[in-house]
Symmetry: C2
Subunit: 178 residues, 2 copies
C-alpha cells in the first residue's frame, strides 16, 4: 500500500469514457509513479499497465500495449520490453515494420490499417491498426518506442499522438536507460 493509504492498483482505474481525460490522467499518473523512481524496467512496466487500462476504459479494443527498447547488445535493433497483452515478437530491426520505422525515422507512426503498411511485422494476425511513438533520450538517440495495437481499423488519431508524445517525453526525462 502506498504512503497515503492508496493501493497502487487504483492508478489503473479510469472512470471517464472521454479519451482526452483518460490520456491526461494516464500522463499525470505516470509522472506521479515515476516521481521518485528512475528504474526504466519498473517505470515502463507500470506505464504499460496504465496504457492498457486507459485504452480499455474508453472502451477501445486495444490488444497490446507496451514497449520495445534499444538493444544494448546489437546496434539498430529493438528488443521487447514490458507490455500487456499476448506474447510478442522479441527482436525488431530499425527500419522494419511500424516500430522499426518509428525508431529509424524518430517519428511517430499513426497506422489506420497495418496491412497497408509496407513491411508490417505481425506479432498478432488480429491487429488492425497501430500507433508507435519514439522515445528520444538525452543524447537525441532512440531509447525505445511506445507501441499500441488495436483490433479495429482507425483505432488512433491526433489526440493519441498528442498525449502519447507527452508520455514519451516524460519517460525520457524520468528513466535511467542502460
Amino acid at each position: 500500500m502506498g504512503q497515503d493509504g492508496v493501493h497502487h492498483a487504483e492508478f489503473s482505474e479510469f472512470a471517464s469514457g472521454d479519451r482526452e481525460a483518460a490520456l491526461q490522467q494516464l500522463v499525470d499518473s505516470y509522472v506521479a509513479l515515476a516521481s521518485d523512481q528512475d528504474n526504466w524496467v519498473c517505470n515502463l512496466a507500470n506505464a504499460a499497465s496504465l496504457l492498457w487500462h486507459a485504452y480499455r476504459s474508453l472502451p477501445l479494443d486495444v490488444n497490446w500495449a507496451g514497449f520495445y527498447v534499444a538493444d544494448g547488445k546489437n546496434a539498430n535493433t529493438l528488443i521487447l520490453g514490458p507490455f500487456q497483452g499476448k506474447v510478442a515478437c522479441q527482436i525488431i530491426k530499425y527500419g522494419h515494420g511500424v516500430c522499426g520505422t518509428a525508431a529509424s525515422l524518430q517519428e511517430t507512426q499513426l497506422v489506420p490499417d497495418v496491412n497497408a503498411f509496407p513491411g508490417h511485422i505481425a506479432c498478432d494476425g488480429e491487429t488492425k491498426s497501430e500507433i508507435v511513438i519514439p522515445i528520444i533520450g538525452k543524447n537525441k538517440k532512440v531509447v525505445g518506442v511506445i507501441d499500441i495495437d488495436c483490433l479495429t481499423y482507425d483505432g488512433f488519431s491526433g489526440v493519441d499522438v498528442k498525449y502519447l508524445e507527452q508520455l514519451a517525453s516524460k519517460i525520457a526525462e524520468t528513466c535511467e536507460f542502460p
Copy 2:
C-alpha cells in the same frame, strides 16, 4: 511473424481447461521462446504474458501475474519487473510481505488468504490469495521472484508450486540477469 509462419501471439492460446496441461504448456512455451534469447527483460515480459493467459484460460481469476527482481542499486530489495495486471508497488524489501519473504527465505510462499499473512503488502486490496516462487541464480542468490495474485481464496495449490518452480529454474538457466 515467427520463422515458421506462426504469430507470436499464438503462444498465448491455452485451449485446455486442465491445470496441469496448461502449466506444462506454459513451461514448454517459455523454453521455446527463450531458446535463442537471454535478455531478461524480454524473456520475463513474455513469461508474464504466458502466466496471465495460462491462468485466465483455466479459468482462474488471476488479477496480477509477473515479476519482482533483485534491485541492483539497493541490497536486499526487490524492484518491480515485467507483469500483466493493474499498476503495482515498485519496491519491496526482503523479509516484507509475501514477495519479500520468498526472497529472504529462498522458499516458495503458497498463501491461501493474504490477509492472514503477517505483514502482507497490498498493492491491490482486492487480492485474496497469492503464490510467490523465488528465482535462484547461478550464484545461489535470488535474482527475482514470480508473483501471482488471485481474486479468490485458495487460488493455488501444490500443482502450481510444481510447475512454477520448473518455470523459475528455466528462467534462471536462460536469462542473463544484471
